[in-house]
């Protein structure tokens, strides 16, 4: 593969903006902002080209670049990137969320913009890298690189407890990823390669096989790292800290993309590489997922801080994603992947909204608000759509994902129907906490003086929200288009996991 594929281009585009930011000292703040925004929009545009060039009839990787990177002894670490139906939407999600986060930062970030925007671009680079890397080692490198900008974003631009949150975030994630590193090295040693497709091929052909306990250990090595990132109950403790302390753009990226790295990891690595263990562990993981769904929703309802409420709601939403993935059938996994995107869009949107509220009132306590619909009709109207999307109103994006996941989990060969029943409870509970939030903040009488004169949306804020609205409706009404891209890849994956024909509904 001599030519540089489009995927590599998309990956490298953020760096095009990153280097001038780092090395050219004479840029004004305004230039920095617009440069970053332009770069991120160009990146998004390039990733749209990915979509155009993508052949959805093909299951395997596309637009592959495969270069040897480091060759040490028998180990060859490759720069091996490409997209398939599983990763393409996540790449798009990353490039989609980024301009919004940047646009929002225009008004909210005044301190050290050069560093800030450079970190954002570095972040984007690493996030795209995580989703396109097909070499375990390369993946690990990108995975770790994402930590660094986020650490600084929280640590420098966060709120009061930022240092604590940043360190906790870092240590927590690091602890998991070290386990993953061990597992990667082990696996690479056994397989003689780090390239994921090669390893999967070896495992599928029986060339490489592990005894039960080894496979489980390897599975857990990956799973714990991913579970922390997701985060799955009960490893979620870093999440509220990180979310609440992070600056808005940080929260948006964190919720919008970073958490997906965990769930994506499960789909990309755990399922095809350890099919036996995946089937064995599926019920246990599903139990945690369902607990997460209900627990997250319940705890959200008990919050006083809007941002924390949204943070906990992520636990609930990602519980759905995990449930879908470990239904181990096509509907579940595809629903899971779409739900990752949905969650990125709607929760990202929610964090933007919270950020806008915070900008205006410098508090995130729900009790400080009330009735602001009357003061800010446009803002509240848009908020309503995003809130509804988050709680899964049919016709908006959240529902499609959740429903498909539930279809998958209800028909799963490894999960009992009770998982679905309890997970569906999450739909009620989502309405409970989301409407509680919406009611206390937006509805009711406008009885606090300081809320009366809140300005409505600024044009930058509006432009950060409009793409979200578009996507909310686009996915909500035309989910078929989105599923089309992943169908072949996922059904191949399901075959790999189940080793049998894809289960279809009925009969």
């Amino acid at each position: 593969m001599e030519d540089i594929s489009l995927v590599t281009v998309v990956l490298m585009l953020p760096l095009v903006g990153f280097f001038p930011l780092v090395f050219v000292r004479s840029l004004t703040d305004q230039t920095i902002r617009w440069l970053t925004l332009t770069v991120s929009i160009i990146t998004f545009g390039a990733s749209l080209l990915l979509l155009r060039n993508f052949d959805s009839n093909q299951a395997g990787l596309q637009m592959v670049t495969d270069w040897e990177w480091i060759s040490a002894g028998s180990f060859t670490i490759r720069y091996f990137v490409g997209v398939d139906g599983i990763s393409i939407w996540l790449v798009l999600l990353s490039t989609f969320i980024m301009p919004l986060a940047i646009l929002f930062s225009f008004t909210s970030i005044k301190e050290r913009p050069r560093l800030y925007y450079a970190l954002l671009l570095l972040m984007e680079w690493a996030m795209i890298g995580v989703f396109i890397a097909q070499d375990l080692f390369l993946f690990y490198v990108f995975w770790e690189v994402t930590l660094v900008p986020m650490y600084f974003l929280i640590g420098i631009w966060g709120s009061e407890d930022r240092i604590y949150a940043a360190i906790k975030f870092f240590l927590y994630t690091m602890a998991g990823s070290l386990l993953m590193l061990v597992a990667i090295l082990w696996l690479g040693n056994e397989a003689g390669t780090f390239a994921v497709p090669d390893i999967i091929a070896q495992i599928q052909s029986g060339e490489l096989s592990f005894d039960v306990s080894t496979e489980r250990l390897l599975f857990l090595g990956f799973a714990i790292a991913f579970a922390i990132k997701v985060p799955m109950w009960p490893l979620h403790s870093w999440l509220p800290d990180a979310h609440v302390q992070a600056p808005t753009a940080g929260s948006v990226i964190l919720a919008g993309v970073l958490l997906k790295m965990g769930t994506y990891g499960f789909v990309r690595f755990n399922l095809p590489m350890f099919p036996e263990a995946s089937r064995d562990f599926a019920p246990y993981i599903a139990v945690l997922a369902v607990i997460g769904i209900i627990y997250g929703a319940w705890v959200s309802y008990g919050q006083k801080d809007v941002k924390k409420l949204v943070a906990y709601s992520s636990i609930s939403h990602l519980g759905f994603v995990m449930l879908g993935i470990f239904a181990l059938n096509s509907a579940g996994i595809q629903g899971g992947i779409l739900q990752m995107v949905n969650h990125g869009i709607s929760t990202g949107g929610l964090f933007l909204l919270v950020g806008m509220l915070y900008e205006r009132r410098h508090t995130k306590l729900m009790s400080a608000f009330g009735g602001i619909w009357a003061a800010m009709p446009l803002f509240s109207g848009i908020s309503l759509v995003i809130v509804l999307s988050s709680m899964g109103l049919p016709g908006l994006n959240g529902f499609v994902g959740e429903f498909t996941i539930l279809v998958g989990s209800a028909g799963s060969d490894v999960l009992s129907i009770w998982f679905t029943v309890f997970a569906s409870l999450g739909i009620i509970l989502a309405a409970v906490y989301m409407l509680y939030m919406f009611n206390t903040v937006y509805m009711g009488a406008l009885d606090k003086e300081e809320n009366r004169r809140l300005p409505d949306l600024h044009w930058q804020e509006l432009w950060a929200l409009i793409p979200i609205l578009i996507m909310v409706f686009a996915i909500g009404l035309q989910a078929g288009y989105f599923f089309d891209f992943m169908d072949n890849s996922v059904s191949q994956l399901v075959e790999q996991v189940s080793g049998s024909v894809v289960a279809t509904a009925g009969r």
């Binding site: 301190e111 009061e160 930022r162 008990g302 006083k304 508090t363 009790s367 400080a368």
Partner: protein, 401 residues
Amino acid sequence: MELTLFFIVAAVAVAAAALMLISENAVHSALFLIVNFACIAFLFLMLHAPFLALVQITVYTGAIMVLFLFVIMLLGAERVQPEQTPRFSWMTPVAVILALAFLAVASTAIIQGDIELTTPRVADPQVRVANALSGAADGIDVYLNDERIAQDLDYRESTTFDAWDAGQYTIALYAAGADPEADEPLYQQPIELTTDDVLTLAAAGTMQEPLVVVAAEDMGPIDDEDGLRFVAINALPDRAAIDVARLTRGGERRVLIEGLSYGEASEAVDLQTGSHTIAVYPAGDSNTRLAEYEDVELDDQTAALWVFGYERRPDNSWRSEIVTFSAAMYPAFGGPHHVGELLFSRYLLPFEMVALVLLVAMIGAIVLTHEAREKRQRLVRRLANVPSPTVEQQAPGEAGK
């Protein structure tokens, strides 16, 4: 003579160094140092390092010391202000004692140490194969133990030198294309390779009586510009010991080698370049001329190997023939050629690194001495986010009531 010269130069060097040390004026110190450097350059010459001597003069005395002088003059720093209160008066005795101790230890070690004046070890044994065996149709194969070192080697051809580990080997000669597993060798003999050996394995004789002669060659440089060096091998089929002589134009007979017995190689013999007439006599018999070879042309600075033997003519008759193999000598030790060769082979990487260091140093020097512009305003870093005013908290459910 050389020793005397050394002592004189050494004395000058030490004196210059000492004077440099005690001169109050930095300019004088610098000048003394130049003298010292010149002495060292001279010593380099004596140590067969002409190239280094040259560099020493150009780089050190020529460039570096000029730089020193320049800086001294520029700064007007010939002298430092004498101290009102010497801060380190204790330093002088301590330093002197330390120096003496150092010198004592070092010189003891040097005198008592194991600096041996043995023949220098150059390298692993070097081996090549030369074919002076007339009559083998497709040439020969030669094996050292089981490894083939020559394949299909034609008459009058030779391989290049290859390095081998020192040790015991068996040398075996086969007709070209023979299978060493199955076929009997035409000839075989044990051979010991030791370090620094430069050996030519010359196949000679006839097909009926083939043999391999091991000739030790001396590839070291020859002082004489026009000189060359040769080794002779006696492979004449009458098996008698021979004398080898050079016939001058005047017909005088200058014996080069005496009593070279059959199947032996001679010592290396130095010879002037030119066209020679070589004659072979039975040992001790200067009247019977066994063979005469006219106009043997030899280049300077080569090591030649002469094999005296018979060559089979196309009509199957035999004729006495001298077969010559020549190889380039090693370049003169320490000469520019020698240093250059090493530099561009084994030391290429360090050379490049050093070059890089030099470059960086140059840039560094420029940056350091560059007039600093006015200092950049340092930004005062403020805290990022202003803490929010805390608002009284309210329990869920109550807010809605």
